[in-house]
């Protein structure tokens, strides 16, 4: 019977796009002083391609909160080539940055997508060409190439690597006729193209991406106990990594991809361990009767953050993997948990309780100060984007769990409600490819 269930779960894991939760990305608050940019609708020849590339770029840049985008509805001139661009027009519109391009159907059912990023700030009314690229892709790759163009434009104008080609993993909970269904899903960073990795009648928790983005570790209760699996994103193939008596929880990949930090309570209470993925060798790092959980690796792989209630309530601690010394990091407030480093290793995103409400906050390790980023209902599960600019989390909105994104400085806020069910426990992928 178990074998049958196992194969059904694996089969479901291989299903292509389904009607499962499609996240919709809604910008609540953008940055003041956003960079103005015009995204001119790309020229087309022949039939309308299956995706509108300039629309996708517009949404990407607008939703980043860093740009004020002049798109189709704001424009009355639609140049598709450099010679057609009137600098005066765009000056009067209010932007020096312009993206123009074309999507042309070519043989074999493919498309040639070409674009140029122009800068008309110099007074000679001649445009500088900052970026000029061309790609030939299939119809199914049009969204990906649009996100790639967004990445290039974003990095050119902000100096920061873009995250428009990254992915999100999260758990969807739906009420079915026979009880709840739990679905581990992966979607594009804008919520499109959701794909289920696992569909189960029992809870799924704590997805964690491998550093190369090819695998996800997670906790599954499908066998009525906590187990940790590693699953390949592309194939759906998975194997069981940890199934000790008691808690098997909070898996976290090391930056070198060879180890998993995890939580086991097989010796009586939850403690932090490291497992070598290939040899399965276990190393115990904490050894007491407190609740020790939620390990997170520093970018250089030398330290682990973790949550522990050894001082009374949950607080954040740092363990040096070399010396095994443990330092407390959080002193503000009586509940701090689920910490993770930002990419520069100088800040820690975490759950921080204020006046009984749980918020996402960032702890500045140098200054020792805590900055609260969210102001809505109880929030949890913060996950930092690979470029450090945004934090993905789950929160309660109108009585339902939804995902949200907030910039590391708190100024940009987005909400991502699931259209079918509730979404929770998200994890931002690393940079892919």
């Amino acid at each position: 019977m178990r074998k049958i269930i196992y194969s059904i779960i694996c089969l479901l894991a291989l299903l292509p796009y389904t009607a499962f939760a499609i996240l919709s990305l809604e910008l609540n608050r953008g940055m003041s002083g956003a960079i103005p940019i015009a995204i001119v609708p790309f020229g087309m020849n022949g039939d309308t391609p299956p995706q509108n590339v300039s629309n996708i770029i517009t949404n990407d840049l607008q939703n980043s909160g860093c740009f004020k985008v002049y798109g189709q509805s704001a424009l009355s001139q639609f140049p598709t080539e450099l010679t057609m661009v009137s600098s005066d027009y765009f000056h009067r519109l209010g932007t020096d940055n312009i993206v123009i391009g074309k999507v042309q159907a070519v043989e074999g059912g493919r498309y040639q997508v070409s674009f140029q990023l122009l800068d008309v700030s110099n007074s000679q009314s001649k445009a500088n060409v900052d970026l000029n690229k061309s790609y030939t892709v299939s119809g199914a790759e049009l969204r990906s190439v649009a996100h790639h163009i967004s990445d290039l434009v974003y990095e050119q104008l902000t100096g920061i690597k873009g995250i428009f080609s990254t992915k999100l993993a999260y758990v969807v909970v739906q009420n079915g006729r026979d009880g709840k269904r739990y679905i581990l899903e992966v979607s594009d960073q804008d919520g499109f193209n959701p794909r289920p990795l696992l569909n189960s009648p029992e809870p799924i928790m704590s997805p964690s991406w491998s550093p190369n983005g090819k695998q996800i570790a997670y906790v599954s209760f499908e066998n009525r106990q906590a187990e940790i699996y590693l699953q390949e994103v592309a194939t759906g193939y998975r194997h069981l990594l940890s199934k000790f008596p008691g808690i098997n929880g909070a898996p976290a990949w090391s930056p070198d991809g060879g180890k998993l930090a995890l939580v086991l309570s097989k010796n009586g209470s939850p403690n932090i361990y490291i497992m070598n993925i290939y040899s399965r060798e276990l190393t115990q790092l904490t050894n007491d009767f407190y609740i020790n959980t939620e390990p997170a690796w520093s970018p250089n792989g030398r330290n682990l953050l973790f949550t522990s209630n050894r001082s009374g309530g949950p607080q954040i601690y740092e363990l040096n993997l070399n010396t095994r010394a443990i330092n407390r990091l959080s002193y503000d407030g009586d509940y701090n948990a689920r910490a993770s480093y930002t990419k520069d290793g100088k800040h820690v995103a975490m759950i921080h309780r204020v006046n009984g409400i749980f918020h996402i906050a960032v702890l500045d390790l140098d200054a020792g100060t805590t900055k609260v980023l969210t102001s809505s209902g109880d929030s949890a599960s913060p996950s930092v984007a690979p470029n450090g600019s945004m934090i993905l989390y789950d929160t309660v909105d109108g009585g339902k769990n939804i995902l949200g994104m907030v910039s590391a400085d708190g100024r940009i806020q987005l909400r991502m409600p699931a259209r079918n069910g509730e979404a929770q426990d998200p994890a931002w992928s690393p940079f892919l490819s």
Partner: protein, 174 residues
């Protein structure tokens, strides 16, 4: 067990009916002594029934059947009024060596998910400890913590949170 109780009731009921039938047909209607005798006989049965071991089991059955135990916020201390039920199940396990239970630990949905798994486990282990004080062996008890992943109530308010903070005792082998 239930069938035995019903049979007892039926048997007793029949005996009571038989007694009252006897008393009315063999004694004059206005004989108070006869009526008193019949009443006394009925009364004796009634008090006998109250002390009878089968009915003791029915009350015991109710205690055994109470299998969801609730906890205060951030606490794994067992409530006083849950102790009789937990102890009754512990005694049952002690006297039925082949029986097995699963204790599920749960929390309300606030705060960190994995930390809540730790809290849920502490609650379930408190109940496991209380079961073993009555003689059940640790191998009869399995503990799983779902943290906040299987809420009892869907709302985000104090009433629903109270229903979420619980340990559920499930017999996996009677």
């Amino acid at each position: 067990m239930k069938l035995k109780q019903w049979m007892n009731l039926v048997l007793v009921g029949c005996s009571v009916l038989a007694l009252s039938a006897c008393s009315s047909s063999h004694k004059p209607k206005n004989n108070q002594y006869a009526v008193n005798d019949a009443n006394a006989a009925y009364g004796a049965r009634a008090s006998g029934l109250g002390g009878d071991s089968e009915f003791g089991d029915q009350a015991g059955g109710k205690v055994l059947a109470k299998r969801v135990y609730y906890f205060d916020f951030d606490s794994n201390v067992i409530h006083e009024d849950d102790k009789p039920a937990i102890h009754a199940n512990g005694s049952y396990l002690a006297s039925h060596g082949a029986s097995q239970v699963l204790l599920e630990g749960h929390t309300d949905p606030r705060g960190s998910r994995e930390y809540n798994v730790g809290l849920g486990e502490r609650r379930a282990k408190s109940v496991a400890q209380a079961l073993t004080t009555k003689g059940s062996t640790p191998t009869q008890i399995r503990v799983v913590s779902y943290g906040a992943e299987k809420l009892a109530a869907a709302g985000h308010n104090e009433n629903d949170y109270q229903l979420d903070r619980r340990v559920v005792l499930v017999y996996t082998k009677r």
